[in-house]
């Protein structure tokens, strides 16, 4: 399989600050990668850069075969990003939001219903305004929207934050299914029990660079230190 992400010397400036200061990273298609690092290491910027949302420079920056240096827009339809904040319209009801996501990603109503069911949003919750939901419930709606989008590359920033045990398990299962289906998953987390996701590789960022790339705990093999 080819590389889903191929970065060489990628630099991304946020208000003149080098949030990414020469990232070298290769992620294979179908791989699951866990991004680690202290606050401000560049994890969120790396995820947003992979989504084509951040202007960048570098020797090479390809995501799903699309050259981000030449064109950052085309790749966006093929990736799904869930950041710290939940991209939802607070005044919409859950069913309105899921219908909007389905229309945005050319998905059917059946796919929207299946996504709602996966995150236990069916029934009474469907008619509730998103603003009235708890943080964890809002996160579940956002994850359902991401499921509807059927991305080839999943980019998740602290995906387990605010979720209860059942929803965490549903998310783990979803990501496992996505990888099995050939999608690539990159997620950033500070949590230690996210190792349950059995990420194939752990990438550590520090100061806007990849400082270490190592197999997940239990996967064996030795670490590469940059």
């Amino acid at each position: 399989m080819g590389a889903a992400v191929a970065f060489e010397g990628v630099v991304a400036l946020l208000d003149r600050f080098p949030a990414l200061a020469g990232v070298d990273l290769s992620v294979e298609s179908g791989e699951m990668v866990c991004l680690r690092g202290p606050n401000g290491a560049g994890k969120t910027t790396l995820l947003r850069t992979c989504a084509g949302l951040v202007p960048l420079r570098g020797a090479r920056a390809e995501v799903l075969g699309f050259d981000l240096i030449a064109d950052r827009r085309t790749v966006r339809r093929h990736v799904g990003l869930l950041g710290h904040r939940t991209p939802l319209y607070g005044d919409l009801r859950v069913d309105d939001q899921l219908r909007h996501c389905a229309a945005l990603h050319c998905a059917s109503d059946a796919e929207a219903s299946a996504a709602a069911e996966r995150f236990s949003l069916e029934g009474r919750l469907m008619g509730v305004a998103i603003r009235r939901l708890s943080e964890g419930q809002q996160r579940r709606v956002a994850l359902a929207c991401l499921t509807i989008a059927r991305p080839q590359l999943w980019l998740l920033d602290e995906p387990h934050a605010g979720l209860d045990r059942t929803s965490r398990d549903a998310l783990d299962e979803l990501l496992g299914d996505a990888v099995t289906a050939g999608a690539t998953v990159m997620f950033a987390t500070h949590e230690t029990d996210s190792a349950r996701l059995a990420a194939a590789r752990q990438v550590t960022l520090a100061g806007g660079r990849v400082s270490m790339s190592a197999p997940a705990p239990g996967a064996g093999s030795s670490a590469d230190v940059a």
Partner: protein, 222 residues
């Protein structure tokens, strides 16, 4: 392209249908402006009648400022604009979809404002086609202009004050031409009403052209 425009327009109108911000907040604010003017010029009712056309457009302009702010606030909240971009929507589709939805909301504001003028200032219409044409062109122009500057200021900490500061001067030609056309339509002036309406149409076309050119730079990295 037009499927995407309709998608955004429908979403914004659904948000409005659920929240009713236009009906519950913007329309009462606009009507309050009329009431304040009615109190201020109560001693001179003829002045109120003569200035009814201008008052209409001032009130709708303030409504457009509030509507444009609201329209882009919901996109800044939670990073919704990023979600739209990740849906592969073109910046132009986002801008025109939002402008269409805002135009519909401003049309509602205009209807309530006109009703307020009839009740408070006892105005009578002498040229309905002129009045309606000018109202449609002016309302659409405010909506497009509002969305352009709403997109420019979305996510900025100073958006609350920056948006009216930028929008009101640029909307002045609509205010001027709309007021002149309404003066004729309401029978308070013998000016060339259709000439002013033609100017309104030219301003509207200019805003549309600027919108096509500016949508990408404004919304790509907002």
């Amino acid at each position: 392209m037009w499927r995407e425009v309709w998608l955004i327009c429908r979403k914004d109108l659904t948000v409005e249908r659920r929240a009713r911000v236009t009906l519950i907040q913007i329309v009462p604010t606009v009507l309050l402006i009329l009431v304040v003017f009615a109190f201020a010029f109560d001693a001179n009712p003829s002045l109120l009648g003569a200035g009814a056309g201008g008052l209409f457009w001032v009130a709708v302009l303030f409504g457009a400022v509030l509507g444009a702010k609201r329209s882009f606030d919901i996109e800044a909240e939670g990073g919704n604009l990023d979600a739209l971009r990740l849906g592969g929507l073109s910046p132009a589709a986002i801008l025109w979809g939002k402008a269409m939805a805002l135009a519909v909301q401003m049309a509602a504001v205009a209807v309530f404002t006109a009703a307020g003028l009839v009740v408070l200032f006892s105005v009578t219409v002498t040229d309905w086609p002129l009045l309606l044409t000018a109202a449609v062109c002016g309302t659409a122009a405010f909506a497009i202009c509002g969305c352009l500057y709403g997109a420019m200021t979305v996510g900025l900490r100073s958006a609350d004050t920056l948006l009216p500061l930028l929008l009101i001067p640029v909307a002045a030609p609509v205010l001027l031409a709309g007021t002149r056309a309404f003066d004729v339509a309401l029978g308070t002036s013998a000016d060339q009403g259709w000439s002013w309406t033609a100017l309104l149409a030219v301003v509207l076309i200019t805003y549309v052209a600027v919108g096509w050119a500016a949508a990408g730079p404004l919304l790509e990295d907002a």
